[in-house]
């Protein structure tokens, strides 16, 4: 208390306004802000400044090459990818050169290869892709996107704000029903 009075007297000597009782809530006098008020103001001001800085820091980066392809053929067979034994509609994933491909058994003689992530919202075909044998289309059960055998997107299969689906990347596949062996061609 004595120290506080001494500061008040000093302020008075300087002609500054003096708070008669330093313990009153009136804190606006020069040089007499309580610790709590100061910390609160710093807290709010700091938060506001931080927010302003962060608002200007939006950015995005693709970590993989969207145009990446295979530099060499990628083999598979029904022993290493038993999911393809189901006709039609069997599925499997094939990892080659850092790419993840979604293999789909279209019929007895044909295996299709798509990029593994649906181009709509990157939902995984491995978990959500199914074959519609009636329409001969790949369906992504995430939001309903449909793709033809050549990967082209079926217009209107997804509606709404996120309807920005594009074609799914595909690769040529050769498949021998007799041996159960196939190759995804480079490209």
């Amino acid at each position: 208390m004595k120290k506080s009075i001494a500061r008040s007297e000093a302020a008075s000597e300087n002609g500054a306004a003096v708070v008669a009782n330093p313990r009153t809530p009136a804190e606006s006098s020069a040089g007499h802000v309580s610790r709590r008020t100061f910390l609160e103001q710093v807290g709010v001001g700091g938060c506001a400044l931080g927010a302003a800085i962060l608002v200007g820091c939006e950015s995005a980066e693709l970590l993989t090459d969207p145009n990446a392809g295979l530099t060499k053929d990628a083999p598979f067979n029904l022993t290493t990818h038993p999911g393809l034994k189901t006709v039609p509609g069997g599925t499997a994933t094939l990892n080659a050169e850092g790419l993840k491909l979604f293999l789909l058994r279209k019929d007895e003689f044909t295996v299709l290869a798509y990029e593994e992530k649906c181009p709509h919202q990157a939902c995984p075909f491995a978990q959500l892709g199914v074959w519609d044998d009636k329409k001969k289309q790949l369906v992504c059960n995430c939001h309903g996107s449909r793709f033809e055998v050549d990967g082209s997107y079926v217009d209107g299969s997804v509606s709404g704000d996120w309807a920005n689906a594009t074609a799914a990347k595909t690769w040529k596949v050769t498949f021998d029903k007799a041996t159960g062996e196939g190759v995804v061609k480079a490209g």
Partner: protein, 409 residues
């Protein structure tokens, strides 16, 4: 519990206040409709009281009619955020997706209490008419029987099984599938028809266990659930608490400064702010849970520490078995700190979700998210949550901000 707990219905508030979720919510697990204490908390939290803006009735009204016989409430949430993936034609800098305003929850509640020991609650989330996650319930309804505190509580209806921590931020990865970040394994407002028993024989120990149908779980884990018709859940939680009293040294109103300190700002004015209680506490949770059906299983473990008027730290981990081919491990840590005012909290969160396709050479798919932001309660019943997020998947990174709005009463 002494005065109304600070701020709104969030798991961390249970830790900060030292009150179980059921203190503010009708459902014993927390979330959903608020009781009169929860409503009162929401009513008295805000930087600017409504009465100062000439709407006194907002400060004094009650959501109940006929005593406590009929109670109404609502949760209205929306978010302004960049939805979708970055676009680009080569590796490197990419274009951010556009901002989208998304109503997430428009859910009125009605509760009826025909007798003291029985609550009947119903609600419908109108926002799901426009957009819903697979497996997200559009409605919830239950009857809850609760006798004296030493007896179990029974809840039957369309309810969320009790497992892990029921967070209110639906963008969290703890219940997500790393291969599909915007399509969680357990979606927000997940619910199934079933029944659950909750028992809290002593203040620091709670056990919940139940059985449920699997209709909504099959929307996200059909292959794993298989032909199974029923799901099970069980959670055990211990909540030890250290209570300390007084407003002197070491008490919760002591801001850590010695009043005799000679500093540049004069003495503390302890009359300036009343922290609303003379005792404080360190509150903790430690728990584990399991939820499963068929070949689907989710095991959670969590730890929480909170201190009155200071903040909380929550850590949670989840292991997900999604059939024989997919295994996920998700982790989250969240720190919330009171930023000088009851109506302003600073949050920082780090989380990671991984999902591995077993028996392939592909390895795990990983998604990480870091969030920094605030919870601001400008007025009673309203929470605004500006946040800065860094989302990193195997394919892209997005640094962007979001703004959530939540009206609750």
């Amino acid at each position: 519990m002494t005065a109304a707990p600070p701020a709104n219905a969030l798991p961390r508030m249970s830790l900060v206040a030292g009150s179980p979720c059921a203190t503010c919510h009708v459902a014993a697990q927390g979330g959903g409709m608020r009781n009169s204490i929860g409503f009162g908390t929401s009513q008295h939290t805000g930087a600017v009281p409504w009465s100062k803006m000439g709407v006194k009735s907002f400060d004094t009204g009650s959501p109940s009619f006929g005593g406590d016989t009929v109670t109404v409430g609502a949760d209205i949430r929306s978010v302004l955020a960049r939805m979708g993936r970055p676009k680009g034609d080569k590796k490197g800098d990419a274009e951010l997706p556009d901002f989208l305003y998304v109503p997430m929850q428009l859910q009125p509640y009605v509760g009826i209490k025909p007798v003291e020991w029985l609550d009947i609650v119903g609600s419908y989330n109108l926002a799901t008419l426009q957009r819903a996650f697979p497996g997200q319930a559009t409605w919830e309804a239950f009857a809850q029987v609760h006798g004296p505190a030493h007896l179990p509580t029974v809840r039957v209806g369309m309810i969320q099984p009790t497992f892990g921590i029921r967070h209110d931020d639906h963008s969290m990865l703890i219940r997500a599938d790393a291969t599909s970040p915007r399509r969680p394994v357990i979606p927000p407002n997940y619910a199934e028809i079933g029944g659950e028993l909750g028992y809290q024989p002593i203040s620091w120990l709670r056990v919940d266990a139940g059985g449920f149908m699997v209709d909504n779980l099959k929307q996200t884990a059909a292959a794993a659930v298989g032909s199974s018709k029923f799901a099970y859940s069980a959670r055990v939680m211990v909540m030890p608490q250290i209570i300390f009293g007084g407003s002197g040294e070491g008490g919760p109103t002591d801001d850590g400064f010695d009043d005799d300190d000679d500093d540049d700002f004069g003495e503390d004015d302890d009359e300036e702010e009343d922290d609303g209680g003379s005792a404080g506490s360190i509150n903790t949770w430690l728990g584990g849970s399991v939820f499963g059906a068929g070949d689907f299983q989710m095991i959670n473990a969590f730890l929480g520490v909170g201190a009155s008027n200071l903040g909380s730290l929550i850590v949670e981990g989840a292991m997900i078995q999604k059939g024989p081919n997919w295994t996920g491990v998700n982790m989250m840590a969240m720190l919330s700190v009171r930023a000088g005012f009851e109506w302003l909290y600073f949050n920082v969160r780090g989380e990671q979700a991984t999902m591995t396709e077993v028996n392939t050479s592909g390895g795990a798919v990983t998604t990480q998210q870091f969030v920094v932001g605030f919870e601001v309660f400008p007025f009673a019943y309203l929470e605004v949550r500006p946040e800065y997020r860094i989302l990193i998947t195997d394919e892209y990174r997005m640094n962007h901000y979001t703004l959530q709005f939540h009206t609750a009463f």
